[in-house]
Structures are given as structure tokens and as C-alpha cells.
């Protein structure tokens, strides 16, 4: 049974999605190079009907005012860690386990194969029960309209399948903001660099609704919900910071001399 499909990509597809833009602390940074906009037209808020309510706390059907893109003229402070994420959020509840993020039947897909990586994205969160009336990835699509996932407690619990953060990343998710994470999922997110795992100070899953437009300012530990006009504090990234900043475990190991560059 020879392996018919190549699993080795010619260029790294899944690493360092949010590599730090500059390691030279003295030069002011240009607008962050790591911006993940939803893969839809900038006119989304005004032309596309807002998606119907999910089973989570009541969704307010509100017309959105024009969304202001991140102010390109304000340069982030000259550190190596500035990242901003802006997009539409998808809200899930507590104990969102990895079987729901990517059910077992799709695990035959090998993420290091670009075609299969792409396919994995199309199945992201397909395991959610029918109480979630809004699908995360529309049938026939490979990417989601939602680039930010907001979760509750113990996000990513259950199986260690790295396919979980990878599927989210492949679907276009830039960041997850959860109240807390399960250990292996958090590790996998950091190691792969597929999604930026942030922790909220409170229960954002009760404050935000699927479809809200949000901005995350990582350096300021802040999430802004443009739809509700509220701002929320996020926890600083902690120990994983250096690994994430470097771009994942391999980049970090090379940077610290643990493996040859």
C-alpha cells in the first residue's frame, strides 16, 4: 500500500500565521502584517442579511453601522508582539470538545497535504449539534465567514487531535477567545501557529453573539465588540507568548538554539 498522495508540502502552509512583524524593537512597526479579515466583501454588514439567531443567548438582529477598519495610521507600540485581529465572530458554549470541532471521520485527512488541509477547513465545527442553527462553514465552502471564535470554559477539551486547531485555521479562523482552554488544544494552537488562543477575563460567550464584528488588540489585551459598542479585557498571553511570537514550537526552538536554524 504505497502512499499515493504526497504529504510533504513544498512550502510550509501551516506555520507561523502570526509571526511577529519585527524583532527590531527600535523601529516603529508598520501597520500589523497579520490581519485576518473575513473572506467576504467589505460591504458585508450592509448588504448581506445577518444570519439568524443561534440557540445561544438571544441574538439581537441589529443593522450594523459602517465598520471602521483598524486605524492604519496609528502605529502599535514598538514591540515585537503587536497583532490585531478584526472580523466577525462565532460564539460557542462551554466544553466545546474537539470531536465537535472536527469529528473523527474526517481525521483521515493529513494536514501537511495542502489539498487535504483545505478540505479539513471545510469541516470545521461541523460536529456542532443542531441547536447551533448557524453553520460555521457553509456547505460547498472551504472557509468560514467567521474569523474569530468566542468560547466559554474548557475550549478544545477531549481528544488531542491537532486537526482541531488546524481545521479552524484552515477555515480562516485567526483567533479564539475563550474563558479557558483544555491543555492539549492550547498547546497545539501554540505549536502550530494556526490560531491565536486568547483568554478572556469574563464570559464573552454570554456577551457576544454570532455575527458581531469584533476587533482584538493583542498588545493592549483588549477585545472591542463593534456591534454592541462594548470593550472587554483579555488576559495577557503568558508563558506561551515567546513561542507564539516566534511562530510556533519549531521557530521558537531555532530562535533559542535548541535546534539548528
Amino acid at each position: 500500500m504505497a502512499a499515493s498522495a504526497s504529504i510533504i508540502p513544498s512550502n510550509a502552509t501551516a506555520t507561523a500565521k502570526f509571526r511577529a512583524t519585527s524583532t527590531a524593537a527600535t523601529t516603529p512597526l508598520s501597520p500589523p502584517s497579520v490581519l485576518k479579515f473575513p473572506s467576504i466583501s467589505p460591504n458585508y454588514p450592509s448588504t448581506k442579511p445577518l444570519i439568524s439567531h443561534s440557540a445561544l443567548p438571544h441574538f439581537q438582529h441589529k443593522p450594523l453601522s459602517a465598520v471602521t477598519p483598524p486605524n492604519a495610521s496609528s502605529t502599535p507600540p514598538p514591540t515585537a508582539t503587536a497583532s490585531t485581529f478584526h472580523g466577525v465572530c462565532y460564539v460557542v458554549g462551554d466544553n466545546l470538545d474537539t470531536d465537535q470541532i472536527i469529528p473523527a471521520e474526517y481525521l483521515t485527512l493529513v494536514p501537511s497535504n495542502p489539498e487535504e488541509y483545505k478540505k479539513l477547513g471545510s469541516y470545521a465545527l461541523i460536529g456542532l449539534p443542531s441547536s447551533y442553527q448557524t453553520r460555521f462553514v457553509e456547505p460547498g465552502q472551504f472557509k468560514s465567514n467567521y474569523s474569530i471564535v468566542i468560547g466559554g470554559d474548557n475550549f478544545g477539551c477531549g481528544s488531542s487531535r491537532e486537526h482541531a486547531p488546524v481545521a479552524l485555521g484552515a477555515a480562516g479562523v485567526a483567533a479564539v477567545v475563550a474563558e479557558s482552554y483544555a491543555r492539549i488544544f492550547f498547546r497545539n494552537s501554540v505549536a502550530t501557529g494556526e490560531i491565536y488562543p486568547l483568554e478572556s477575563e469574563g464570559r464573552l460567550c454570554e456577551e457576544c453573539r454570532t455575527g458581531d464584528v469584533v476587533t482584538i488588540e493583542v498588545a493592549d489585551n483588549k477585545l472591542i465588540n463593534h456591534t454592541t459598542g462594548k470593550e472587554y479585557k483579555l488576559k495577557p498571553i503568558g508563558d506561551a507568548g515567546p513561542v507564539i511570537e516566534a511562530g510556533g514550537i519549531f521557530a521558537y526552538a531555532r530562535k533559542t538554539g535548541m535546534i539548528p536554524a
Binding site: M1, A2, A3, S4, A5, I7, I8, P9, A12, N95, D97, D99, Q100, P103, A104, E105, L107, T108, L109, V110, P111, S112, N113, G127, P129, S130, D153, N154, C157, G158, S159, S160, R161, E162, H163, S180, Y181, A182, R183, I184, R187, N188, A191, T192, D239, V243, G248, I249, F250, Y252, A253, M258, I259
Partner: protein
Amino acid sequence: MASSTITSPPTPLINKKDAGLSAFSSQASFSVQKSQKRVCKKIVSVMAPQQSERRPATTGSVKTGMTMTEKIFAKASEKSQLSPGENVWVNVDVLMTHDVCGPPAIGIFKREFGENAKVWDREKLVIIPDHYIFTADERANRNVGILRDFCNEQNIKYFYDIKDLGNFKANPDYKGVCHVALAQEGHCRPGEVLLGTDSHTCTAGAFGQFATGIGNTDAGFVLGTGKLLLKVPPTLRFVMDGEMPDYLLAKDLILQIIGEISVSGATYKSMEFVGTTVESLTMEERMTLCNMVVEAGGKNGVVPADSTTYKYLEDKTSVPYEPVYSDEQARFLSEYRFDVSKLEPLVAKPHSPDNRALARECKDVKIDRVYIGSCTGGKTEDFMAAAKVFLASGKKVKVPTFLVPATQKVWMDVYALPVPGSGGKTCAQIFEEAGCDTPASPSCGACLGGPRDTYARMNEPQVCVSTTNRNFPGRMGHKEGQIYLASPYTAAASALTGYVTDPREFLQ
């Protein structure tokens, strides 16, 4: 300072005379005296709530005792002393991977270290196809092929290959479920660090080692370096004392614990299991206990090695090992104690492993099927336990009862070992007489659903009592499936009545 593998015998935190009397939680650092003073006379079986987190010693100059897990980390990272919260590079003794995560890990390894890179040690990698084996799914079969190509290229010593899917017995190397195979093939040893690309790698903690699940990228890293950056976890201690009632199994103990502390109660923590009950458990029962540590969010589980461990390992490994034990002055985050004799058979109701309930309180729940298998509940003793219930009943099952031995060895035991009290019958005979399905080819099977054609996969929204480890929505296949996690005793009892059933209906 010399190596930290001090081999002192495990010390229970209270005097053994007081065993069975306590229902409290104590900060175990100045443990012995304090806990003896706090013993209350009332006999209870509940566990006391967790205390708030204690910070590790910050003085640096005072040498504090370390827990088992801390000691294993210290040895593996070549440090004499460390505390929870530290991030250290540990040397890996064994890395395990299987058909689902192996190919991605291999892909990452080659991408990062080069197409022609060699693994750090061809004898420390154990590759065990077990997840999606007996299926027509092309990608699943291709993935086993990817493992084979890699093992050939790298000359990997331990590759438990399978080629003939139609007859598992025709594959001399094939084992089955990775966590059970690791134990049976002697890859689990006290004091070592075992990592695996599977969340239930924590099962091996039963052997007094640090064992935990990692992702593909981390595994790719280990493949090239033999090391990994890990954070030292603080330890929760679970003291179980008392004689194990004959209707209770280790599965009930761990369901009790998970129900108590919740699915995130042990996140980033180590769970240490000690006490007279634990000491009385067989290795397979200890494996069941440690297996579901991850269901509480735990990083790893440990059971101190003892004569039971050494006996099990006698004929399985000749690699020298050095057990470690928690110091008397070791600091534990919390301690939970319970008197096992007070516990009753449990289930975890849909859809969470911490949704604990007494089996007898679920007796009105009509079920559609029973599944006995997986690393959690598909070992030889699990099948012996189920057989015991069927034997005691003498009746036939009322619902389809699926049996999936974890490994070839388990399958053979099911067909060869006599069940005590049966007059020489084997488990297989008893299962047949009870009307169960024929024991299937050994693999992970339907525990996690898998490809659509997986044997016993739940493709309809049914109610299932299962000896497996997770019951999140869609776990065994259908999103609306309802899974009740239970011990093999409870599963067998439920099969006989067609309802969730306390095994005492048949065992007493």
C-alpha cells in the same frame, strides 16, 4: 545533588489506622501531623472540595520535597529540583503514534528537519496502527501505508503493522489499541517519560511514569530531537482507601472523581492515585483509572509502582527502570479522599464524562445497544468482568451487544482463558450463550465513531451504554446519539435488561 530518584516506599498521608474515617481536604505540605489532627470520626464516602492553589516555594534556598511527577520531570530535564509552573525541556523515553496522527507528524518532521532526516532514536519510537483499520476508507488505508513507508525508510524497530485487513490474525506484528499494546509489549516503565499523539496516552501513568498526549507538531518535534518543552504540573492527590466492593470497578472510581471535579477540574494538573484500594488494583484496572484522567482535563495520571507493577513487567521488558515516589514533604495542590466501600456503580450520562449519576437511578433509561471495547474498557479483565455478569445471569442480552477486544492478545484471552466459576467456559463461550455479537477485530473501533463503515459505529440516534471514555455529542458517530459511559459490569447488566442497570441486580 544526586539524581532525584529516591526510592522510598509510598507513604500514605495519614496513619493507616485512620483510613476510612476521613472526609476532608488538606494541604499536604506539612501533611502528616496536620491531617492526623483533622481526622473526623464520621465515616463518609464523599470527597472534600478543592482548596485554593498554593504557590510553589519561592525561597529557592530551601529544598522542598517533590511529587512523583515533579521528580520524573526533574530526572528527564536533568535538573535536581524544580517546581510546578516551570517550563523545561524533557528527554523523551518513548514516543508513540498511530495511523491518524502518525502521517501528519511525519509530514511535519520531514518539513522541519528535511526530507532525508532521521528520527532521533529508531528504538524509542513505537508506531501502532489502531484507529481506522478495518475499513474500506481509502485514505485510512493509505495512512497505514504512510506509516509503513516511514518505518521502512527509518528502520523503526517497533512497528505493529497490518496488511491483511480481512483476517487480523494473519498479521503477526499487528497489536491493536495503542495504549493497551504499549503496556502489553513492555514499553511502559516506571520513572520514564512517554508521550503519544493521543489524549489517552495518560493510561501509561499506571506504571508510575509521566505519560501524556501531545499533538502532531509536538510529535514532529520529538521525532527530530527526542525532547519537548513541557510545563511542570502541580499534583492533585486522590487517596482511595477501603476494600473494593465486588460490584465496583476502576471505571466507577474514575467516573466518581471526574463527576466530582468536573471535566476541567484537573486541567494542567497531575492526578496521583494512592491508597489501599489503589494498591489492590491490578495493572489493567490501574490503566483504566489513569486512562480517563484526560477527561478531567488532567495532564497525566500516576500510580506509584509496586510489586504488582514489577510482576506485570517481569516478562515484558528487560530495559532497566528506576521508579520514583512522592516525598513525604511533597506539596500537593489538593487532596481528595474517599472510602471506596461507600461507592456505588456509576454512569456518565450524555453528553459529558462529568455528568455523573448512580446507575440505579437511571434504571428507567431504555437503551438500544451496548458497546464493550476501547483502551478504557476493552482489556482482558474488562471482558472477564462482563462475562462474570452474563454468567451470573444465565440469560440472553436484550439489545445488540458489541464486543471489541482492544488487542490481538485480548482477543486471544477472550477465546482461551477460563472464566472463574463457569466450569471452564471461556469469555467467548459465555458471550455467545448470552447472545452477544461475535468479538470483533481488535482496534479502537467505534469508540470515536470513525469512518462510516466502522463496526458498531452509531449511525442512528440511539442510546448506548459503553465502556469507552467520552460521550460528547457525536462521539460514536451520530450527533444525536446518547452515550452512557459505564464499567464493564454495568454495561453487561444493562445489556441483559435493555435498560441502564446497576450490576448488583446480577452480582449480589
